[in-house]
Amino acid sequence: METPEIPKETIEKAKDSDSGAIAEIFEHYYARIYRGLYYRVRTAQDAEDLTSEVFMKVVRSIQRQSGNFEAWLHTIAKNTLTDYYRRKASRKEYSADEKELEAVPDNNQRDGGCFTQEELKTAITKLTGEQQEVIVLRFIEGCDNEETARITGKSVGAVKALQFRGLAALKDILKEDCRL
């Protein structure tokens, strides 16, 4: 995994409203949660807004946190994402501003001559929620099976199954571009 788990003492201090510990949690997890969300939402701006929303929920409810912190944090991110999809579904159409924001710097660069970052993002959003979560944790965030299992609350076997099904589904979505 890219970042080691944050010390338990920091979490305890944060529960006691220690701003230094809160800042440390932000430093430690903000970019990681952002990256996880980035590949699952439409625009970078959406990812930023959602990440901010996740961390506001963390600050507001950390005193009630128990059990594994990372799993708790990812559950908040997952629920925030679910709300986002609901909001999007109820709106159906999205604004011209959002369309403009979709442009990413490497839009025309194909990873390994195969797919662009934007195509990858779009493909990931077509997976089931469980598949998205496992694919992003395993391949974007670089978690191993055990960490992915702990964060998602699933068994290692279930993670491997979701990994296989997720990759197979992505292959079908991207096959026209990649000849996979």
Partner: protein, 262 residues
């Protein structure tokens, strides 16, 4: 016999250790055709860019988080007297503010919001800022205002550049100075808010550096040096602040020799 899910996972582990694709697949000839595209796809996913949030997004989130944190009361004397919060001083500040606004005129203050240096209403805008500062009773309010003013100077810098293509060196200087003043205010904050505000200033500094860097390629000639110098200032300030934080020292109030603020 392993399932295809298990085999895929074993192959992924092998690939991560650097074993060539064909060597990995040679171990599972019966599944090679099915596994190949999945392993290629996994490699593509792992090589995909890892985007970072913009520095100002983190900064804004930290600011918002600060509003949710309860202020903890220190265990000191319950009715400690703070001369700055005495009613007569509060009253004096309020009277001063009202007088200034009366002199300047509310409409002029409102109209000055978008004023740039050299324009008629710019001094009104600066005076209004000073009044806001006077009216901010709490140290955290004053510290936040310093960051707001720094942001304001940066927006003015960009607006001036968009307007006539000039880089105002004085604005850059004031922008950096206001951010420094925000940092200086940390010692006056409640102990439990110091580290969070320190992080805010740090991310704010990164945000200003990002903004200047995006402006840099568009500026040529002698003006470019102002931007280059400011970027260097932001870089060294950021580096200095990160070093201090690693040591657990939030200067400048510690009085340490390391606290040589530039």
């Amino acid at each position: 016999m392993n399932s295809i899910e298990e085999i895929l996972d074993l192959c992924l582990e092998e690939r991560r250790k650097g074993v060539p694709l064909n060597d990995v697949l040679a171990k599972y000839p019966g599944q090679a055709e099915e596994l190949r595209p999945l392993l290629l796809l996994a490699a593509g996913l792992e090589a995909a860019p890892k985007p970072e949030p913009r520095a100002n997004a983190v900064y804004n989130a930290l600011i918002e988080a600060g509003q949710y944190l309860p202020v903890k009361r220190s265990p000191g004397p319950r009715f400690r007297l703070d001369w700055l919060s005495l009613p007569q001083f509060t009253f004096t500040r309020a009277v001063a503010a009202v007088l200034i606004f009366a002199l300047l005129g509310w409409s002029a203050v409102g109209a000055s919001a978008g004023a740039l240096p050299g324009e008629l209403l710019y001094p009104v805008k600066l005076a209004a800022e000073q009044v806001t500062l006077v009216l901010a009773f709490k140290p955290e309010g004053k510290a936040e205002l310093r960051l707001t003013f720094s942001e304001q100077r940066m927006q003015e810098l960009l607006a001036r550049y968009r307007k006539d293509g000039t880089i105002d060196a004085e604005l850059i200087k004031e922008m950096l100075e206001e951010a420094k003043l925000a940092l200086d205010k940390i010692s006056a904050l409640p102990k439990e808010k110091q580290a969070l505000f320190y992080s805010k200033v740090l991310h704010f500094n990164d945000y200003q550096k990002d903004t200047l860097q995006s402006l840099q390629p568009h500026v040529a000639g002698a003006q470019r040096k102002y931007i280059d110098d400011a970027i260097e200032d932001c870089s060294s300030r950021g580096e200095w602040m990160r070093n201090m934080r690693e040591k657990g020292v939030y200067c400048p109030w510690e009085g340490s020799a390391d606290c040589d603020w530039r």
